[in-house]
């Protein structure tokens, strides 16, 4: 499978604006200035990237623990119940990044909440609703510099 083709401008936008998108009144005009193109061109490019799903959104990534509580969590779900359990888990607003992985520990997700009390309550509610144990793996230390997604060699 090959990915969607990126224009040279799109490539530049992805390389340059994952970290410090301008915080000023007309950010797209500021971005456009860097490449000698128009504000409209940059806005159209971002719209195109979003429509094709390359860019999920222009938004913020928060430092873990500063804007709430979060943990990675996993469940070992019998294969025949996986779809149903995944749907129930995903129905919680506090759950994101809900994935099936190829391992006996097969359902992985992230729980985020405004505080640890709410986080614990959500985990308990998931266990109660599914009758399965939830293992939690809170982050203790990060070792990468999160510079966004580097576009590796194609």
């Amino acid at each position: 499978m090959t990915g969607t083709h990126l224009s040279p401008l799109e490539n530049r936008l992805l390389a340059d604006w994952q970290h410090d998108f301008p915080l000023e009144a007309r950010p797209f005009a500021r971005v456009a200035e860097q490449y000698g193109v128009s504000e409209e061109t940059v806005m159209a490019a971002f719209e195109g990237l979003q429509q094709r799903g390359v860019v999920g959104r222009i938004g913020a990534v928060y430092r873990t623990g500063t804007a709430g509580a979060s943990t990675l969590a996993a469940m070992q779900v019998p294969r025949e119940h996986l779809d149903a359990v995944a749907a129930r888990v995903g129905a919680f607003d506090e759950v994101n990044h809900n994935y099936e992985r190829a391992h006996p520990m097969n359902l992985w997700f992230v729980v985020t909440a405004p505080d640890t009390e709410r986080l614990d309550a959500v985990v308990e509610a998931i266990e109660a609703e599914t009758g399965l144990s939830v293992l939690c793996f809170p982050m203790e230390e990060a070792y990468h510099l999160d510079l966004g997604f580097a576009l590796p060699e194609r």
Binding site: A25, G56, I58, G59, A60, L72, W108, F137, E141, Y143
Partner: protein
């Protein structure tokens, strides 16, 4: 840094992303009853305080063809974990590297995400990483992703937003199911 009530509402509103329009911060402010200047001042403060670790385009690697994605887990001594983690983070293909708390029945404490264009390439990168870290086969595992049931922004700040009556419309969220490969 404590989030103010205004910050919490701003964080909640940003879950849907910045609107692509000439004055996006003014548009965001309009939804929240805040001025453009206030929105910019608060976001700048959050960014400078490091609460916002990065602000910009959130790229979906899958759409770019990086469809093979594996979580690689290692059981390493806690004392040496930081050195190994920093070493792993420099490896090609490793996009995230964390030390996490172990749990009963799950001995692994070092987590690396590896993204690649195909399964075989990711496996190669994993074997090279394991070799370099010196972790024997019994003390590690690779978990390829199969299906993504849901991928959304975290919901920090949501409770505060709901408390202030600024309940967000729910159209953008829910159980998004995408084929992972």
């Amino acid at each position: 840094m404590e989030l103010t009530e205004t910050d919490a509402r701003l964080v909640a509103a940003l879950r849907d992303g910045l609107p692509v329009t000439a004055r996006p911060y003014a548009a965001l402010g309009e939804r929240l009853g805040l001025s453009e200047a206030t929105v910019l001042a608060r976001l700048t403060a959050l960014r400078e305080a490091g609460v916002v670790r990065r602000f910009g385009a959130i790229v979906r690697h899958r759409a770019l063809g990086y469809t093979a994605n594996a979580m690689c887990v290692f059981d390493v001594p806690d004392a040496g974990a930081a050195d190994l983690g920093r070493r792993a983070a420099r490896h090609p293909g490793v996009t995230l590297c964390y030390r996490r708390r172990r749990a009963a029945g799950w001995p692994y404490n070092l987590y690396c995400m590896i993204h690649g264009r195909d399964h075989g390439r990711v496996l190669e990168l994993y074997e090279a990483l394991a070799d370099d870290l010196g972790v024997a086969e019994g003390a590690r595992a690779i978990l390829f992703s199969r299906r993504c049931f849901k991928q959304t922004a975290g919901c920090y700040g949501r409770a505060a937003a709901a408390g202030s009556g600024a309940q967000r419309p729910d159209g953008a969220r829910g159980a998004t199911v995408m084929a992972a490969r």
